[in-house]
Amino acid sequence: MTVEYWRWKEYNWHDENIDPKAGSVLSAGCDVGSVSSQAVVMVDGGLYAYSNMRTGSDSPHSALDAMNWALEGTGLKIEDLHYVVGTGYGRVNVPFAHRAITEIACHARGANFMYGPSVRTILDMGGQDCKAIRCDHRGKVTNFLMNDKCAAGTGRGMEVFADLLSVSIEDVGDLSFDVEEEPEPVSSTCVVFAKSEAAGLLRQGWPKNLVLAAYCNAMAHRVVTLLERLGVEKEFAITGGIAKNIGVVRRLEKELGLTGLKSDYDTQIAGALGAALFAGALYEKQQAKK
């Protein structure tokens, strides 16, 4: 079997110290992205369980799989959830959702929860898009810019490189710093052309790590241009899968001259978490009307 280096690990988690049956509001969010899907379950406004997995070719299925996996071992079933909000690229295809809300709104809301009310600029680096979002102290979106047309600056671009260089996607960041000198960024914008450029560099005898560094640099530069067009206001935070890649994160922080906020939460669940927060608020509103 051939090794697929781009394949990142899927996982689920739940808090053993919480008894969900004792909670009065069970809200959930499901973020069906183009590359990965996440489900988040909250009990009375606190994070209880989540999962992160790859999106299959069928988004209703992916949504169901992600939610069932988040609920695995919790004793809860999807029917037990009071309110579910779907978000992400496949948000209209979440069969058990009560509502769909855009991922921009959900990311801002999720980041507000994860990083606190001081966060004003969020860079979400996802699988097939990259968004720069500005928000207020309540996590309400004030402006945003998005690239969803081009793979440069997205997780998919990084997967292509991990595969080309036979490096596990999780190791890219660390390895990219194992170089003697920081290289110039890869000059091609297009991932397809960058790939042939990288093949040329390898042929010239560049070590793998140096090529990785050059690509991380290029990706950092690419998203910094997006951020600068929107205007960066402190505090700043990065979410999405690429937020876990220090090779890109540190380089873009350096170019920006700004350090991103750190959080104990998983950066990939920001969208689903925001959706779950919306779900909680919507449920309470619904109950109040009754």
């Binding site: 070719s57 097939q128 793979a151 998919r156 091609s188 914008t189 397809v192 052309f193």
Partner: protein, 267 residues
């Protein structure tokens, strides 16, 4: 008068040897990683086909993305200049040249007296280049020629949402999963490339006659999509990928006879 033109493209190196404007020999080789070596090999091959020695070439002009590395060239000419000169030599009525190669696309507007009036280039993005088609053919596990031909069998326009070649590959896989017939996917891909190129060409305006050159002009599916998108007939010359190399050889010729149509850069 023997002149030569060499086009050092991102994928192929093409060379043409001319005698008073008549092509007497040509050669084409994969550029590979050592373009300089390939360039010399291509030159030797063309010379031997023509039965000439390297000293017989009075002037050689290089063009293409790798033009700076051809050590034996007397002059260098931009891709735009070479494509325009070559197209005019093939058909003097040409006013618009659309040149689609492996990694670049160009649209060039020519004045009636053969000068470049305006042009647009895409060299940043693989969508709208030959590489895009190759990647899609690979995703469908089809030979590139077959892939182009298959497109003609489709009578259904399936939209492609992805613009990016990387994203389009996943989209093609999803279309396959959804059991979309391969000919419809092929047409969707060619329509997508054509639409990118036509929107670039419209920025400089499209005037008749329109000649389409470069390696992509061999692709019958792409040509059909271009005709649909432009809603006009196109001139597709024989050996369309040699046109810029011929243009370079013509430029060398023009220089020798003191009638320069294009601006040459001295080495």
């Amino acid at each position: 008068m023997i002149t030569a033109g060499m086009d050092l493209g991102s994928k192929f190196i093409k060379i043409v040897i001319m005698n008073d404007g008549d092509v007497i020999a040509r050669a084409k080789m994969l550029s590979g990683f050592e373009q300089e070596v390939t360039a010399s090999e291509a030159l030797s091959e063309a010379l031997s086909k023509a039965g000439l020695q390297s000293g017989d070439i009075e002037r050689l002009t290089a063009t293409g993305v790798g033009r700076s590395i051809a050590p034996f060239a007397h002059d260098r000419l931009t891709e735009v200049g070479a494509a325009a000169r070559g197209a005019i030599a093939r058909l003097p009525e040409t006013r618009t040249v659309i040149d689609v190669g492996a990694e670049e696309g160009r649209a060039i507007l020519i004045t009636p007296d053969g000068h470049v009036k305006d042009f647009a280039i895409n060299e940043k993005c693989a969508a709208g280049s030959g590489t895009f088609t190759e990647a899609m053919a690979r995703a469908l596990e089809l030979d590139i020629v077959e892939f182009g031909r298959l497109s003609l069998q489709s009578d259904k326009a399936v939209p492609m949402n992805a613009q990016c070649a990387v994203f389009a590959e996943s989209e093609v896989v999803s279309l396959l999963h959804a059991r979309t017939p391969k000919q419809d996917i092929s047409r969707a891909v060619h329509d997508a490339i054509a639409s990118r190129i036509v929107s670039m060409a419209r920025r400089v305006s499209v005037e008749r006659e329109v000649m389409i050159i470069g390696g992509m002009a061999y692709n019958v599916g792409f040509i059909a999509s271009m005709k649909r998108a432009l809603e006009m007939e196109l001139i597709v010359p024989d050996d369309p990928d040699y046109v810029p190399a011929e243009g370079a050889a013509w430029a060398a010729h023009d220089k020798l006879v003191g009638m320069e149509k294009t601006e040459l850069k001295e080495r």
